[in-house]
Amino acid sequence: MPKLIDLIQAGRKVERHHPWPRAVVDDDVWRSAASALADGGLSLLGLWGEASCVHMAILDDHTSDIGVISLDCPDRQFPSVAAYHPPAVRLERTVHDLFGLQAAGTPDPRPWLDHGRWQMRFPLGERLDPSPDAARYQFLPAEGDSLHQIPVGPVHAGIIEPGHFRFTASGETVVRLEQRLGYTHKGIEGLMAGSTVEQAARLAGRVSGDSTVAYGLAFAQAVEAAQQIAVPPRALLLRALMAELERLANHLGDIGAICNDASFALMQAHCAVLREGVLRAADAAFGHRLMRDLVVPGGVARDIASDGPNAIRAALDQIRRHFPALVELYDNTASLQDRTVTTGIVTPALARQFAAGGYVGRASGRNHDARRRPGYLPYDGLRFEVPVLSDGDVNARVWIRIREVEQSLALTDQILIGLEAGPVRVSLQGATEPSEGMAVVEGFRGDILAWLRLNGDRIERCHLRDPSWFQWPLLEAAIEGNIVADFPLCNKSFNCSYSGQDL
């Protein structure tokens, strides 16, 4: 079985790609990479296109190495990775929709983000007029006696993002769920191409609003990698502080919302109060409740307010005082446990195959956290644990969040203690040779990948891969055999981003 290093060495190494290597390979190496992904041992981190080539980011599970292999597509096609390794299916459909590059041998040639509404095809490749005879989108068939379909969305009953779910059910039991996403596709990668670093940073912070700090961080780290610049220690700590506050706020919100979807509103009411406390502390410390546009390439846009640390400490004290009673309430309420335990199971094998990050992966035995592996500053100097469970049900995903709330509380304390005076931003370099940078950052939902090519102060191409790409398909698997009424509960326990995957 080829290791990642073998694949990279089999190709032509690309200069000025940091911090991990990138190599241009031929069809054969590309195919052997695809087959190695299918065998296990290597995990797919991302697959994205450019006008006439495709890139694939790979993680070596044994060595924790990361690398990118690229394939030129002069005849506008490439060997399908999905033919070997299903997690690539939606990524390849997207590459075709945006760039017009065909995955030869793909098991699923249907469009993904392109709903036939853009008045053009292949907006980021060689643009074509829309095909006049665009066929109706075909959902996958489910055959059997007395099956019925339930179409849901794109406009849902709750205050959530738009997407379409097509259920096929036998009585109350879900036989198949098929997702259709792409409704919030804004063309962010198209807007980024040719924009300044500053404009692109603002767009990166708006890929998925709940992860605005994590996206800002992933983008900034990729720019800093491309330019090979180091960020001052105080800025690193402030970034981590914001990232942990974001994680806290989201996990608290999710724990309440999951219980609410099991009709247990009391948890929601209390968790929402704690979440609000975190957002208000963020507002007091950084001037924005969601801390948007604060992580910028080179450091942070503004220093923490003088009374910021106290505001944050006060919010954390509130959580420390009230959260344990809520955890006990969750654990001791039989009617709630009845809903969450053994509901919506993701098997460890599936989580591993899809390289699912975040609580989805860690609740199903995949011990992966980008703060540890590949790891980035300042986390190597901070003490924290990465909780892992293997049950893979809604309950396990709640417990991972509970444990991560505790870890983020401890991390925030360490950061506040370690905060020393100093500069919070360095300026970027002016016009230099084109260079490429890459980063993998742990958002609350999982690992976010950012890859970009800089040319002077302009972004030539930037790709941002949300953790949801590898979690959404697992939701389809998790709901199978469950009752329709448990779908909101399962969906909330995943809390995948629509906007993040639609881009």
Partner: protein
Amino acid sequence: MRKLLLQGLFRQPLTEQAPRPDDAALAELGAMVARTARRRLGRSLSIREVDAGSCNGCELEIHALSNAYYDVERFGIRFVASPRHADVLLVTGPVTKNMREALERTYHATPDPKWVVAVGDCARDGGCFAGSYAVVGGVSAVVPVDLHIPGCPPSPMAILRGLIGLLEAVDADVAAK
């Protein structure tokens, strides 16, 4: 659980004072006040939220309106599951081309009288997404907008201020009939 419930009985409520309606928002309401409302709504507004391609930041803050600090239901404002039950559509996002039809159909499914409130900077004119091949560029390009609440995202207090302003305008409008 008993302890938590008892604490809830004896603790001071967290709910904060209502904000005064925003003057700027009220000025924007001018045009709307002139419109005819065919039935009295009282002080109750049912809202259907429609995400027309937002980054989900606005949704987070709209959610926050229901927490104990803002408790939006005390003003008679509630979020409903269907446009058929709604008086107001609260629309976020720059309106992606993939969401355009869904937004139009939601609008037409809402019975008259109805109002549309656009929330967030990108809901006004597409914001930083304007000019993209995939974006229409603002809610008013698709359905008529009565009130716009700016911000990226607007804070819950800003959204609440806008909605209370809308309520007062609706009241005044109906009383004048």
